[in-house]
């Protein structure tokens, strides 16, 4: 503890009266004590200032220090004692009896003598009035009783009659003393206040000491101090303790502790102040740590010609460029300034964004995440895969050689196995048979419902095609075929002896129609409400044919055997909606495409082989490579997936080049070609070479985009098929045209 912190205690111990003065004294040295140096923490300094001034204000309020309590109470006691002594003296002259001061015979000191109290009627008014002697009990005990207590004789003191409010009011009007009267609880009535009581009330109002006889500024009577009152004899006979004259051991220990600390240098007696001043020294003369330095921050870009104060004129923005620049958000601007030209250096004004730009740079330095990126400095053309030129991969369909028109949307088409004839069907129910070479229509059939699919039987010893209508499939023998062929076909479709009907009755009905030359020879009636068959897939031998309807039992898939005139549903139940089916070209495998997956079944063993996941949202078309090892799948989401069936269930390659949904895909049976058609009205021809070597990936080369079909109602080319012996393509479009594309 140092002396300063003790000071308030000693000061307050002096006297209560000097409190105000002390405050004034204390306030004076305060500014001098305030540190002259500016403090580091600005806010703190302000706060401290505030606190100091507040403190001063608070201190002005007279407050008794906790430490000075003892002394104060002592003094109070003294004063009480004193006032006891002379209370009568200072009391109001009118009320209280006046004392007489006489010289005492015994002590020789002056003393006050009060007049004798005469015990007559007038002598003590205090005992006279109190009739009720119940004492200090709660008066509400007597609330329900007629009396309010008992008098000295034990008789009931009856409750004085109290008037109502009107009486009270009248009383206040009539009685001039009523405003100086108060309700007396024990008497249960208003009593006028005495002069003494009024005096006390007045004093309380005036915030004075209620006792009129108390004089707070009485001169102190020195009893034991002062001249001539020194005590000669000691109060106690105890001998002087040793500690009065022997140095304190504990103090010595404390001091020695500090001395040792100073000697050891732990405490520096006159320590130099910590200064903010920087001392520079050769910081790089010591070897650095082995830590690699952090990556330096990227440097800002160096200024270009447009930032010059006098740039070439072509850099100056035009009016429109200036407007565009001003319209942009500051963040979106490519440059943060507009180029300007000044004819001389003295005309260049201050750049108003200077501080802001510096600040932004600093924000970048410490707040922006920093990522190291490899800057690619490559020629973009090297990214394009090097593929053999289409010129070297001829032949492929190149131009439209002829066009055959349908009255409405041409939906489907099929080419005869010899490649000479095309049969195409449209939405109005027209099926046309025409020649590939010249486009001459040979025959036209008209059906009542729209045509879902047509498919030419792949057998060469017979010649007929199948037309799929609503819930019906017709087998039709084309005209102008050789007699022997006609005979064999007829024998197949309408044999003289019908094969025995299946043991279990099938919902599919086989009906031979009357042999008219232009009608269907054989009709297959699918179960009712099975809808329009969307696809006909022939087995390579030409005996089996699979059809897919939009709805119906067993996923709408039916397998028809022509020779036995028997239909069966291969799946009892199938997950998802079947979109397409396909026969494997060489193995007894069966591809079933649902909306998102392709399942491959082994028909001989009747089990699922694998599931392919093309990642297409909705499969629209599919074709299998003639080798049977590759599959292409197209989707309405424009994707085309090439699957290597030996490789994996994921596509080997995903291509996305059509701008609209893919509608149809077809592999050429002999040439290494495939085509895709889309709703954007384009047909894309690809070269697709497949190698026998398992290690070599198939080569896919885009060859040609064939345009010529018009897009109608958002539909483009709906079906494409290849001529089996030529690199020719036949397409059917939504504009009603069926075109032949030749090489």
């Amino acid at each position: 503890m140092d002396a300063r912190s003790k000071q308030p205690v000693t000061v307050s111990a002096l006297s209560k009266k000097s409190m105000g003065k002390r405050k004034q004294l204390d306030d004076a040295p305060a500014p001098a004590l305030l540190p002259q140096e500016t403090l580091e923490m600005l806010s703190d300094e302000e706060g401290a200032d505030q606190a100091v001034s507040d403190d001063g204000q608070v201190d002005e309020f007279p407050q008794i220090d906790a430490e000075s309590d003892e002394e104060d109470t002592d003094e109070d006691d003294e004063e009480l004692f004193e006032s006891d002594d002379g209370s009568e003296n200072s009391f109001d002259r009118d009320i209280f009896p006046r004392p007489k001061t006489i010289i005492s015979d015994i002590t020789g000191q002056p003393k006050r003598v009060y007049p004798e109290i005469e015990p007559d009627y007038d002598s003590d008014s205090s005992t006279e009035d109190t009739q009720n002697r119940v004492g200090d009990v709660p008066m509400h005990w007597y609330d329900d009783l007629p009396h309010i207590g008992y008098d000295i004789d034990g008789k009931r003191v009856l409750r004085p009659a109290r008037g109502d409010e009107l009486d009270k009011f009248l009383e206040t009007v009539e009685d001039p003393n009523s405003w100086t009267s108060a309700f007396d609880k024990t008497a249960q009535m208003d009593k006028p206040l005495s002069a003494q009581e009024l005096d006390i009330i007045q004093r309380l109002y005036a915030n004075e000491v209620p006792d009129a006889g108390y004089d707070p500024y009485e001169p102190m009577v020195e009893w034991f101090t002062g001249k001539g009152k020194e005590e000669v004899m000691p109060l106690s006979a105890a001998p002087e303790p040793k500690r009065r004259w022997v140095a304190s051991k504990w103090e010595k220990q404390k001091v020695m502790k500090i001395v040792r600390a100073i000697r050891q240098g732990r405490i520096v007696p006159s320590k130099p102040k910590t200064s903010a001043k920087l001392e520079v020294y050769s910081i790089w003369s010591e070897p650095s740590s082995s830590h690699p330095p952090p990556l330096p921050a990227p440097k800002p870009r160096l200024p270009t010609n447009s930032e010059s104060y006098n740039p070439p004129e072509e850099y100056l923005p035009t009016e429109s460029e200036r407007e565009e620049w001003e319209k942009q958000d500051p963040e979106d601007r490519e440059r943060e300034y507009l180029p300007k030209k000044y004819s001389s250096l003295r005309l260049v004004p201050a750049y108003d964004q200077f501080v802001k730009e510096r600040f932004n740079r600093q924000l970048d330095l410490y707040m922006a995440p920093r990522v190291q990126r490899v800057k690619l400095n490559i020629d973009p053309s090297t990214l394009i895969p090097k593929l053999p030129s289409p010129q070297s991969l001829k032949p492929f369909p190149n131009y439209k050689s002829l066009k055959f028109d349908h009255p409405s949307r041409a939906r489907c088409l099929s080419i005869s196995p010899d490649g000479a004839w095309v049969v195409s069907g449209d939405e109005s129910g027209v099926v046309s048979l025409w020649e590939v070479m010249v486009g001459r229509e040979v025959k036209r059939w008209k059906f009542e419902s729209k045509i879902g699919a047509v498919g030419w039987c792949p057998r060469t010893d017979v010649s007929y095609f199948v037309v799929a209508l609503e819930e019906t499939i017709h087998c039709i023998i084309p005209p102008h075929i050789s007699a022997s062929l006609f005979q064999s076909t007829k024998a197949l479709l309408a044999p003289p002896t019908l094969p025995p009907p299946p043991e279990t009755p099938s919902p599919v009905k086989w009906v031979s129609s009357t042999l008219t030359s232009d009608g269907p020879t054989l009709s297959v009636h699918l179960p009712p409400s099975s809808g329009l068959p969307k696809q006909i897939a022939w087995h390579r031998r030409g005996d089996y044919m699979a059809t897919v309807s939009g709805s119906g039992l067993h996923g709408g898939v039916w397998m028809h055997q022509i020779t036995r005139r028997h239909s069966q549903a291969p799946f009892k139940k199938i997950r998802g909606v079947v979109q397409l089916v396909l026969f494997h070209p060489s193995k007894p495998h069966f591809f079933v495409a649902t909306q998102q997956y392709i399942r491959i079944y082994n028909l001989a063993e009747q089990k699922l082989l694998k599931t392919l996941m093309p990642g297409i949202k909705w499969i629209s078309s599919m074709d299998v490579h003639p080798s049977g090892d590759h599959l292409i799948v197209g989707g309405y989401d424009r994707k085309l997936c090439w699957f290597d069936l030996e490789l994996s269930a994921k596509p080997y390659k995903i291509l996305r080049y059509h701008t609209r949904a893919i509608r149809s895909l077809a592999f050429h049976p002999t040439y290494p070609l495939f085509a895709s058609s889309s709703d954007d009205g384009a047909i894309q021809i690809f070269h697709s070479r497949v190698y026998n070597d398992l290690m070599t990936d198939p080569l896919i080369v885009p060859l040609k985009i064939l345009r010529g079909h018009a897009v109608k109602d958002g539909l483009g080319v709906l079906d494409v098929k290849w001529c089996p012996r030529h690199p020719w393509l036949v397409s059917a479009g939504a504009d009603g045209a069926a075109s032949v594309w030749c090489s």
């Binding site: 401290a48 070897p287 921050a297 201050a350």
Partner: protein, 617 residues
């Protein structure tokens, strides 16, 4: 069975921490954390995790991430400890002041915790080269703050310290002659110096009062400035001592008051050259990694200068004389230029351009007129060996006054005013001197040679001032002649004129002609060609022109065909690109297109301007 892997115990979840987590870990306030990050710049900065979700335990809320290791490293930072101490100190002092315990407060204030940044500098820049490489931003900042008006947030001492550092830097640049390029831009003046083989670029605002915008957080800038001041002090110390100069250079208060600026500081070589000799190898060891021939040369030069500096003012002249001598020695051998070219050593090659460019203004004496900014040109001229004087209105300390006979160039930036009452002496003086605009000085430096003064004479329209830092590759170059500037331009103009004349009369006819020609161009077989010929004849085109046009259009068609064929093939091959490649390709193509369109628009503008000029003139 392997150990079970718990979530959030490995990988990105462990490698990254969010800012809030970092602050919690370091037990400091956000303001302190920010300050710490700034002081450790660029060591600790937010990182971009590959997957924000994975780094933030599945949440994709926008937060900034830091490396957990960086934060663990920060936890041991002495500055952080000091910041915590300061927090305690602030509490203690506010308590003491609140209680009116003045002596305690004074004691506390005297022992206030103050952090030092030298260890951060050392850690951030282990070698001197690292530090020099990174002083660009620091220089920009001190130049800015030296020009800011002092306020409650910016005490005068700060501004003064900044301007002291600025002056020290300029002195060093002038003394070491390391300035290379200067660019007068609309933002300010860019300077580029080469120090220890590192290019240092800094931007100095023009001398106007800068206002600090309200949306700029001055606290951030001040924290940066704190770091930068320390960094620059250490860097300058090293630079000065390497040159054998005393650091800090003593300031002459009297001169400073008279506005001498840089001249108020005097460079003093450290007394003993022997000491230099001992310190030099040490620095070589320190720099260790990179010692180029330039460094050694610089050191030797500094030694030589240290000796010559004692002679005072005459030093640069002597040096110039020496350089001239060297050149003179080489000249006799240049009688056969080929042989000298083959004989030049590496050292000579290195030395030659530098000595040429750094003493560019050595033979000249400049005088600044009062409207030119002295702060810019004094540094520029003196760091290229020239002598410069200025009028008293630009500050004191000018080595000579306007009447000095040695003045060769006067830099003026005001329009020509004819002054009638000129004395003969003044006229004579005027005729002796060359009056150039300020841009001449800068252009000379950037060109590396003395340019002709005529173009830059007083009152002349200045040639454009180009950036010496160049543009990106393949950008528009205003200095190069446009490809079709001469011949093609005139041709097209002739065509245009012809077109103008003909168009009025032969509108209909021309359309006919054109259709005929088009038909001819398209015609492949003989028959159709003949038909087109007939049509052309009917339209009134003579055979010669028809032939020519047909040939031209054929050529065009062929070119188009081959072009389109190639393009189509390319386009088709693009189908086979993977998605990633496709995106990259598109991106590159986009940027290329942007650049080329920019270039094209600039070229078109230039053509347009030229045409207008030709029309006007």
């Amino acid at each position: 069975m392997g150990r079970l892997r718990q979530k959030g115990k490995a990988g990105a979840a462990k490698a990254y921490v969010t800012r809030t987590a970092a602050i919690k870990k370091l037990q400091c306030s956000l303001a302190d954390f920010r300050r710490l990050c700034i002081l450790k710049v660029p060591g600790i900065f937010p990182r971009e995790p590959r997957s924000r979700k994975r780094a933030n335990k599945g949440s994709s809320a926008p937060t900034s991430f830091y490396y957990a290791k960086d934060i663990a490293y920060l936890a041991h930072e002495p500055v952080l400890k000091k910041l915590r101490e300061h927090k305690a100190f602030a509490k203690k002092i506010s308590r003491a002041l609140g209680r009116g315990e003045w002596s305690d407060a004074k004691n506390l204030e005297e022992n206030k915790p103050i952090y030092r940044l030298d260890h951060i500098i050392k850690e951030r820049y282990p070698t001197f080269i690292d530090a020099v490489r990174d002083i660009d931003d620091a220089l920009c900042m001190i130049f800015l703050f030296a020009s800011l008006p002092s306020s409650a947030r910016l005490p005068t001492s700060l501004t003064e310290n900044c301007s002291r550092l600025v002056a020290e830097w300029q002195l060093y640049i002038m003394h070491s002659r390391s300035l290379r390029k200067v660019f007068l831009s609309i933002k300010g003046v860019y300077y580029q110096a080469e120090i220890m083989d590192q290019t240092v670029t800094w931007l100095v605002p023009y001398q106007f009062t800068q206002n600090v915008p309200v949306d700029v957080d001055v606290r951030v800038m001040l924290t940066f400035l704190e770091l930068y001041q320390t960094l620059l002090s250490f860097v300058f110390f090293k630079l000065y001592t390497d040159l054998g100069l005393v650091y800090p250079p003593p300031l002459d208060a009297k001169k400073d008051e008279s506005g001498a600026g840089v001249g108020a500081f005097s460079l003093q070589s450290s007394t003993k050259s022997a000491v230099d000799a001992t310190t030099q190898p040490k620095t070589v060891e320190v720099d260790g990694r990179k010692i180029s021939g330039k460094d050694v040369r610089q050191a030797i030069k500094s030694l030589a200068e240290a000796v010559s500096q004692t002679n005072g003012e005459a030093a640069p002249l002597e040096q110039n004389a020496m350089e001239v001598d060297e050149e003179f020695v080489t000249q006799p051998s240049t009688s056969d230029p080929q042989s000298t070219a083959s004989l030049t050593t590496l050292q000579a090659l290195q030395a030659l351009p530098q000595s040429l460019t750094t003493s560019l203004f050595a033979p000249y004496t400049f005088f600044l007129s009062r409207e030119t900014p002295r702060s810019i040109f004094e540094v520029i001229v003196r760091s290229f060996g020239g002598r410069i004087g200025w009028p008293a209105s630009s500050g004191g300390g000018s080595p000579f006054d306007e009447t000095d006979a040695s003045i060769t160039h006067v830099i003026v930036d005001r329009p020509v005013v004819s002054s009638e009452n000129e004395t003969a002496e003044e006229r004579a003086r005027r005729s002796r001197r060359k009056y150039v605009q300020p841009q001449w000085v800068v252009d000379c430096i950037n060109a590396g040679k003395i340019l002709l003064e005529d173009k830059y004479a007083q009152g002349q329209t200045l040639p454009p001032h180009l950036s010496p830092f160049g543009e990106h590759e393949g950008a528009y170059d205003p200095t190069s002649e446009l490809a079709g500037d001469g011949v093609a331009d005139s041709e097209s103009e002739i065509e245009e004129i012809e077109g103008d004349e003909e168009e009025d009369e032969q509108d209909e006819q021309q359309t006919e002609e054109k259709s005929a020609l088009r038909a001819a161009a398209n015609a492949t077989d003989d028959a159709s060609r003949r038909a087109a010929e007939l049509a052309a004849e009917v339209a009134g085109v003579d055979y010669g022109t028809f032939e020519k046009q047909v040939r031209k259009s054929h050529k065009k068609a062929n070119a188009a065909a081959t072009g389109t064929g190639d393009d189509a093939e390319h386009d088709m091959n693009k189908m086979m690109m993977s998605n990633k490649q496709k995106k990259l390709y598109e991106k590159i193509k986009h940027s290329q297109n942007k650049k080329s369109t920019e270039r094209a628009t600039l070229e078109a503008k230039r053509k347009q301007l030229q045409k207008e000029k030709r029309k006007a003139g």
